[in-house]
Symmetry: D3
Subunit: 284 residues, 6 copies
C-alpha cells in the first residue's frame, strides 16, 4: 500500500498563507537587498537527523509559489527513511527565491517529518503485533489534514478527521444521555448508514454494557495492561479495540501485546519534536 | 511590564478556521445526536501539569464563536503559572456548544501554553543573568503571531516576526555578496531608517570584520562558551549579542553567563510539547 | 429524534456571500431611493404551497446580517409541515433592510424547503416500510452541507458528505483494480478504522462475490424490483442494502417493499423544485 | 450573436470551493486507495437526455484544478443542442484525478445544462413571436452569474443581475412611497444616468398611471392574457413590456402572442431539473 | 434626496483588511507598550480644512472592530459641509483601541472626504446649470464602491460601477466592429432589457451617425465648448449628453453652460487630494 | 542599488480583487458583445505626462489574469523616467482580454506611477543634500505595500510599514505615559532587540529630554527651518533626524539644507495625482 499524495488544491492555501505570513508587507528585506535578481543557485534539502520524510509537496510548493522557475528533484519521497546527511531533494533556480522561501519550506517539512518520525518510532516498536498506530484530533489548528497525512507517511493510520466523520461517544455524552444505552441509541438513530460508532469506556463493567449494544469500536481509555488484555478477550472480535492513554515508544509493545487493534496517541501530532532538515547551498 | 493581549480581529480568523476544520460539513455528529439543545452545563479548564498559561483568548473565542451564550470567567490569565489541578477558567453555558468547541479550544490552549511553559523554563534557568530569551522564525505555519505571543507570555522576547521587519544577514547572503562588507553595505543602503541590521557570524575572525561595519546586532551561531565569552568582550557593548545553537534549559545558564544579551532558541516554537490542560465537567 | 441546527459559524459565510452577490457594488438602488431610512414594518414569511420548511436559520441570518435590528419570531420551525397560507415566521424591523434582504432570504428558504418537501414526499410514500431515504453527492456546488440538512428536515437521512468520509467502490474502481476482491482489499488496508466501505453492484453475481468480502454496505444500482428482492435475501442482514436508480414517489413503495434498508435518490438535491414561500407586508 | 464565455477568473473560485467541499479533509479515499497514481484513462462526457449544454468551462476547470495534466477536447460547446448518447467532450489523463473531479464537474454541468435546456424549451415554444425569455433574481445562492450565463446558453436573455444594476419598483415600494409618482420620482432623482427604471403593475389602471411617468419598462405581473393584450396596446411601444407569473412551456406561446417584449420566468433558475450527463470510461 | 448609507456588510471586509494591514503580525507595538489596558479617553475627529465629509461609517467601523466598547457620536454626518475646527464626531472609549485604529480610520475618512470635497467644488461651480457631475471607473483598486459613494456624498452622481452594468462603446470597439452601426447593433442584440447603451464620439460627424441608432447616451469626448454646444443642439433631447475631458472647477461652468446633461470627471476619484481631518485628544 | 520587485504572490490577490470589482457579475458587456473571441491586437502603454513608472507588474498581472495568452514586452521598467509619448510596454494578444483588463491595469499603473513621480520630484529637489525622502502610514487602505514600493520606485525610502515594525512614540503616548522618560522606558522594555524606537518632538526642549534617552530616531514635527537647524546641531549624529510637516517640492530644499537625515511626506501616498498613462491601439 503506497502513500497517496494530497491534491495540490488542498495544500496551496496553506502554503500561500505561510509564505505571506513570512513575507509580511515588505517582503524579504535581506535577500532583496543583497542577492542579485538573476543569480541562480543549487541547493539540497538534507537530513540532519534520522527519521522519516513528510511534507515534501508543501516544501516544493513554497519554493515554486515564490518563483515557478525553481526546479526540485526529489531523491527521497515522503515516507522514506532518512539518515543524517542524506539528500532529500535538490532545489535549484533563482537564488533569491530559494532564500526567500527557505524558512517556510523547512517549517512545513521539519514539522511534518517530525510527526512522521514519531509515528514510525511507535510503528516500529510494535512490529510483529497486529496493532495499528492512530492519531487523534489533538492537532495543530489549521494543519489537521497535513498532520494526519504525516502520520500515514510514518506508517500510522488515521482516526476521525473531525467531529463529523464518525461518532465517538465519551463519558460526558453518556452522563448527559443518562446512560450508555440511550447515548448509543440516540447516536444510531440520527446518523447516516456510513457513519461508524465508537464508544469510550473506562472500566470493564462499562465495556460489558457497551458490547451488548454492538458498537463498531470501543475506546479503552487509560486502562492497565491487565485490563486491556481482559477487554480484548471480552470483545472477542465483536468490535474494534482501541487503547489510549499516554502511550510511548517504550510502553507501546506491551500495550500492543494485549491484542488490541489500535493504539491511539495524541502526542504524535501535538508534541512530536521537529525532524531537523536543512537547506545546504552547494554553490551560490 | 504586562502582557498585552492580541486584538481579537487578529485572532478570530484563526479560530474560525480551526472550528470549521473540526466541524467539517456535517458538524458535531455525536453531540448533536445525544445532547439536548437546551441543556446547560458548567465546566472548568484545569491544568494537568505545571506550567504557564497562554492562549486563553483563543480558547474563549472558540467557545463563543460556536455559541455566544457561553460565559467564561478567567481565574488565571495568560502568563500565570499554574500547577496541576489549578482552575484556569470556568466555562458555562449550552452543553452542546461547549462539547463542540472543546477540542479546538484545548488545541490552541495546550499548544500555546506548551510554548509559554518551555519559554519560562529557560527564562527561569537564566534568572540572575541579563540575557533575554528570544524565539525564531521556526514557527508552525499560520500561527506565527500567536506563537510569538506565547513566548512573551512565558517571559521571553521576540526576534523578527518575518522576513520584512529586520535585516538578518546569514552566511549564504555573505557568500553571494562576496563578503561581509558588501553584504552589509547593500543592506544598509536599501532599507528604511527604522530597520535594524543583524549579522550572523560563525567565527571570531568574522566577528571582527563585522564589528568594523557597526551592525545593530550580531548572531553568534553555534559558538562554544569560550568563543561566546571572547565575542562578548570583543563586542564590548557596540552591538547586541545573540547566541544560538541548540540551547536547552541545562545549557542556558552557562551560555547566559558569557554575558550575551540574547539566547535565541528555535525549539520553543517548533518542538515544545503541549501543556496538558483539560476541560472537566462539574455537572452536565 | 429532533433536527439539530447547523452552527451559525457554518452558515454565515454562505449567507454573506449570497447577500453580497445580490448587493453588487451599489447596493439596493430601489429601496435606497424610495424607502425612508427610519421606516419600520412588519412582514410574514408565509407558505404558498404545501410542504416542509427548511432553511429558516439562513433566512434569519440574511435579514440580520443586513440589519441586526430585524426581529424574527418563528412560528413553524424547520421540519414543520406547512399548508398554503401558513405563517412560517414574522419578520419585523427596518423596512429598507427587510426589502433588501428579502430575495436572498427567500432564495435559501424556498430552495431548501423544496428539498425537504421532496424528501418528505418519499418518506411518506414508504411509511410502514423500514427503508430510509438518503440523498447523494449530486448536490448544488457550494451548498452540500445545507442541502443535506434539508434532507434531514424532510425526514431523510444522509449518505456520504464527500469523497473523504466513507469508501464507495464503483464499477470504474473495480475495473481499474482488476476485480472486486483487490478493490475491497486495497480499500480496507488503506483507510482508518472508522471508515465504512460500501460497494456498488449491478448484478446478483457481483453481489455474491462482494458479500464474501464482508462490506459494510452494498449499493444495488438500477436493479429491478425482483432483483432487489433476491438481493435482500442473499444479503440476509450481513450488510446494509441500498437501492438506487431513478426512484420516484410512485415507485418508492414498491422498491421499499423489497426490504432494502435505503433508497438513495439523487434528484432530491439536484432537481427538486422550490417550495414557494413569500414575504407578505402586513403594513408598511 | 454568439455566446461569450465567462472569464476563468470569475469561475475559478466557484470550482475551487466545490472541489474542496467534496474533498473534505481527507480527499478521495476510494480512488486514492484503489487507483494507481500513474494510470491514465480516457473518458467521455456524454448526454443521457436531450437538451442544451452549459457549464463546460466549469467542468473543465474541475478536472484541471485537480490535475493540470487532464486534457479535454470539446465536441459540443456550451449552447449546443445534444441528444442522448452524444459526446460532449473527451476527458483524458490521470485516472485518479478524473475520478476525483468527476462528481464536481458533473454537478456543475448537469445543473447548468438543466437551466439551459429549460430555457431553450421556452425559447423554442415562443419561436415566431418577438418575445424574449428572461430569468429573474430567483437563483441559487452563490451561482447567480453562472446560472444567468446558462440562461443565455439556452437562448434566453438576462434581467437584473442584482439589486444594484437597475431599478425595479414593486408594490411594496409604491405603498411605502405613497403612490406610483413619488416612487418613480425618488428613483429617478437618485440614480445614475445609465440605470433603467422598471415598474411592476398588477392592473391596467396602475399601468396607465405608470405610463404617464415614462418608465423604461413595465412588469405586468400575473395578468390574464386579455389584460396583457390590452396592456401591450396601451403601452404602444413607449416602454418595454414584461409578462411574469408562472409561465410554462405550454402557456408561453399564448402569452407571447399578446405581443409583450419579455416573458420572465423564475423557475428557469430555481426549479429546472438537471440535464443528465454522465462520464463514461472508454478504457481504464 | 438624502444620501443612503452603504450596508455594513459591504464595508466591513474593507475595514478589516485595512486594520490587519496596519496591525501586521505584532500589532500596535507602541500603544501596547505604553498605554495602560484600562485607560479610557475622549477624542474628537475634527476638520483641519473646509470641505465635505464622507466615510464616517468606515471610520466608525475601524474603531469598533478594534474594540466594540468605543462609542462614537456623530455631529456632522456624511455629506455635511465642514469648516476648519468643526467637530465631525466624538470618539470615546479605551485609549489603546482608539490609538490603534486612529490611522486606519483617518485614512478612510480623509481619502473619501477628499473625493466628496472635490466633487462638491465642481457641483457648486455648475450650480444654476442642469448638468450633473459624474465620476468614472478610474478609481483606486478595491475602493470603487466607497469612492462612488463619496462622489454622491459630495453631491455628484454615478456613472457605471463596472464593466457589467451598462454598455459603453468606445473608439476601439467601433474600430473592431468595423463601424458605429455594427457596434451598436451587436451590443443591443446581446444585452438584457435593463442595460443602457452609451456611445463615445469624438466628432460631430460621428455624433450624427450615432444618433440615428438611438443610443441612451452619448459621451462627447474632448470636444471644444463650441462643439459641445452644437452637439447638444443636434441631440435635441434624444439622448443623454455627457461631456468629458480634463474638466476642472474653473472650466466646468463653461462646459455646463453648453447644456450638456453630465460632466464626467475622472480626477474626482483618481487624483483628488485628501481632506485633512485629525483626531484630537481632549483628555487622556 | 536596484529596485527589487514585489513577489507575485503578494500582488496577485490585489489584482484579482480589482479585476473582479470591475467585472462584477456579468463581465465586460461591451467587449463581449462587440469584440470577436479570436481577434488579436497589439497595443502600447504609453506615457501622456512626464514622470516615473511604477506598477508595471500589477498591470501585467491584470492582463494575464484575464488571459494568459497576453504577451507584454517592457520597454521602460519601474523606476524609469518617462516623457510624454514614450512607450512603457507593448501589450499584445486577444483583443477582448486586453480591452477587459485595460482599466484595471491602468488604474494600478497610473496611481502608482503618480506616487513614484511625486516622490521623484522631491528626491530631485533635494539632490545634493544627504536627506532621504520617506513616506508615512497615510496610505490608501489595502494598498500600503504597493504604495510604499512606488515610493521606492521614485527614489524614496520607506518609513514604518505598519504599527508593528517599529516604535513611534507620539505626543499622545507621552501624555498618557506621564512623560517622555516613562514612555521610552516602557517601549524599550517591551519590544524585541530588532525594533527601533523613534520619538516625535515638537520643541527643542523636548528634543533635549529625548536625546538623553538615546532613541534611534527623532521626528521633528512641524518645526521651522531655524529650529530644524538647531535640532540637527543638538542631535549631533546621536540619532537619525526626521523632519515632517507639509513639505513640498518648493520647501524641500530648504528643509534638506538644515542637515536632517529624512524628510517625511504624507501626501506622496495620500494625495499625489495619478500619472496619466494610456493604452493605445496600434491595430485592432
Amino acid at each position: 500500500m503506497s502513500l497517496s499524495p494530497i491534491p495540490a488544491i488542498m495544500l496551496e492555501p496553506l502554503v500561500r498563507a505561510a509564505l505571506l505570513e513570512d513575507l509580511g508587507r515588505a517582503g524579504d528585506l535581506t535577500s532583496d537587498a543583497i542577492v542579485p535578481n538573476d543569480l541562480r543557485t543549487t541547493t539540497v534539502l538534507s537530513a540532519r537527523q534520522q527519521g522519516v520524510v513528510a511534507g515534501l509537496d508543501l516544501a516544493i510548493l513554497a519554493f515554486r509559489l515564490i518563483d515557478q522557475n525553481v526546479d526540485i528533484k526529489v531523491d527521497r519521497a515522503d515516507g522514506s527513511e532518512i539518515a543524517p546527511g542524506n539528500v532529500i531533494a535538490e532545489v535549484s533556480g533563482p537564488a533569491r527565491a530559494i532564500l526567500t522561501a527557505e524558512r517556510t519550506a523547512l517549517n512545513f517539512l521539519c514539522h511534518l517529518s517530525g510527526i512522521a518520525t514519531a509515528t514510525a518510532s511507535i510503528v516500529n516498536a510494535v512490529r510483529g503485533h497486529k496493532a495499528k498506530i492512530v492519531c487523534t484530533r489533538k492537532t495543530t489548528p489549521g494543519l489537521r489534514a497535513v498532520e494526519k497525512y504525516a502520520v500515514r507517511a510514518g506508517g500510522g493510520s488515521n482516526h476521525r478527521f473531525g467531529l463529523d466523520d464518525a461518532i465517538l461517544i465519551k463519558d460526558n455524552h453518556i452522563a448527559i444521555a443518562g446512560g450508555i444505552r440511550p447515548a448509543i441509541e440516540r447516536a444510531r438513530s440520527s446518523v447516516g448508514h456510513l457513519v461508524k460508532i465508537e464508544v469510550e469506556v473506562d472500566t470493564l463493567a462499562q465495556l460489558e454494557e457497551v458490547l451488548a449494544l454492538a458498537p463498531d469500536a470501543v475506546l479503552l481509555d487509560n486502562m492497565s495492561v491487565d485490563q486491556l488484555r481482559q477487554a480484548v478477550a471480552m470483545v472477542a472480535g465483536r468490535a474494534i479495540t482501541e487503547a489510549s492513554g499516554r502511550i510511548t515508544a517504550s510502553t507501546a509493545p506491551t500495550v500492543a501485546a494485549t491484542g488490541v487493534d489500535l493504539l491511539s496517541i495524541g502526542w504524535l501530532t501535538h508534541s512530536a519534536p521537529i525532524l531537523d532538515v536543512g537547506l545546504d547551498y552547494r554553490e551560490v
